[in-house]
Symmetry: C2
Subunit: 344 residues, 2 copies
Amino acid sequence: MRIWIFSLIISQSLLAAKIELPWSALPKTPPIPKDNPQTPEKVYLGRQLYMDPRLSKDGTVSCNSCHNVMASGGDNRAFSAGVGGKLGGRSAPTVWNSAFHTVQFWDGRAASLEDQAKGPLTNPIEMAMDSHQAVVDRISKIPGYVSQFKRVFGDKGVTIDGVAKAIAAYERTLITPNSPFDRYVKGDKKAMSPQAVRGMNTVIEVGCVSCHTGKNFNAADDLAMGEGNYQKFPTFTDNEYVTKYKFLEDKGRGAHTKSEDDNYFFRVPTWRNIALTAPYFSNGSVKTLDEAVRVMAKVQLNKELSANQVADIVEFLKALTGERPKQQMPELPPDPPGMTTIDG
Amino acid sequence: MRIWIFSLIISQSLLAAKIELPWSALPKTPPIPKDNPQTPEKVYLGRQLYMDPRLSKDGTVSCNSCHNVMASGGDNRAFSAGVGGKLGGRSAPTVWNSAFHTVQFWDGRAASLEDQAKGPLTNPIEMAMDSHQAVVDRISKIPGYVSQFKRVFGDKGVTIDGVAKAIAAYERTLITPNSPFDRYVKGDKKAMSPQAVRGMNTVIEVGCVSCHTGKNFNAADDLAMGEGNYQKFPTFTDNEYVTKYKFLEDKGRGAHTKSEDDNYFFRVPTWRNIALTAPYFSNGSVKTLDEAVRVMAKVQLNKELSANQVADIVEFLKALTGERPKQQMPELPPDPPGMTTIDG
């Protein structure tokens, strides 16, 4: 009995310690919008669509080409390659845990995963479909998809909204819980190395947590879906990094809204799985995480970190790599027998 | 007892009927070379490598890009797209059941799946790695692969032979049994429609079976591994198809051996899953299976088929679509934390 009470006291103090940290463990499920409930059939359809290169003009690019769910959830390139090898202008963000983001894309121009999913389909340097109607027409030629859309969406059948909803529903399963940090914050104090703990304390002291807080390390916990946490990048421009890494070439949200007030504002990205997602920044110009840490300290906080501080922070960031879910490969429904639905 | 004997007589006669067909059911496992035994660890490593775009120069192309195991085992394009969107010169054959082929590639220039796997890695219009050593160097930078190669291949560690062996071992699991034809030939006479059975008889009568026999419909049952069944294509050149579909532009095996005797000779391709693998022929010039049937009859046998014959044959060919195995997505071992191993 005494031992039990003693344990209770300990866990209470651990709980107290937890509350002081500006982050929390990743929930196993993200917010689910009311108009797009999760069903196993919809998630499976979404996984098929996500993996299906027929959603691109010439049948060479799928969502997974640039957001690889067998790997980092991105493509580990500075710029992604679309149809015909064309290069995009920003680095593909990881799909892992994107379901917790309140806005999508580096400039936050999509208010939901559903909105986001529609973008690359018709982007001429990504999947390059002529129109959303062309996507619907392509999918409607594939008998297996037609019957699956009917099963999932009823009489609506194949629609671009259905495509987006199914892909978003699948993406809401792409959560990576149980990182060393998550286990640490839940009470397993041995889950992170002493160096990682030092790094954790350093990012608090240095001031990274003015933007990187909350369960997804992007200060979005209190935002409604569609509402973004945008921060200016670069903030301090009088340093070598800004030139070296060409940080003034992309106006970020301003390039989208055409408002000067939005110039150089970007959605704050997550830190989760950041050790998997080199190269770094929206232009992928920084190849390693240690350099990314140095850059952020200088460009955002005007601070120069010691080599030890950088090493400690990197160790903490490595502790944010979660467990990727086990998934079955989807079987893509075949084209009509003896035909191909793509040109190429 | 009498019923039992009667059943025995019936099954005996079914057996006799089976023996008369020039094909047989697909075994569940293909031949396994003595120097590359299957192990679960090796097959899993092979599946990872097969799916990993880091095996290409810029990290955009994996084996699966052109031989998609979630779909037809090919890419349903005339020519595959490699690094930078460069196009190859021949249509990607399906990987399904390729483990039964005695030689690989349209021109049979690889004597085994192991040999085949090494080709695309350094082909400048496919995966475009600078050399096999560059492949080994890339993989050797990835800690998870290094330990897996050690576990699978012992002290040899990461070698190009190991890469090829692991991929080949995985490909030997890519078998599609239980097609309607397989069930039919095993005794379930309702597994194929009457039209498919008519088509089956038609391909025998018409003479397609001078080349398309055996368990994989490519007359390779009696060949040793490394020994190819090559046939001339086109055989009859005095017809519109040869011009229309540019069949004289690719000298096939002759382009590889540089011997005139080999000009226009190709490895006889399988019929299995052919309804999944449009477009057709080594140059992917024929978009539909019914046209492919007309073309083959004219160009190889100098015969013109009736519309009914074509429809029946197509129905039979559709009955050769097997069951694709269920597979778990592999988890690709990450790059060293905070780094990317590719340039791009």
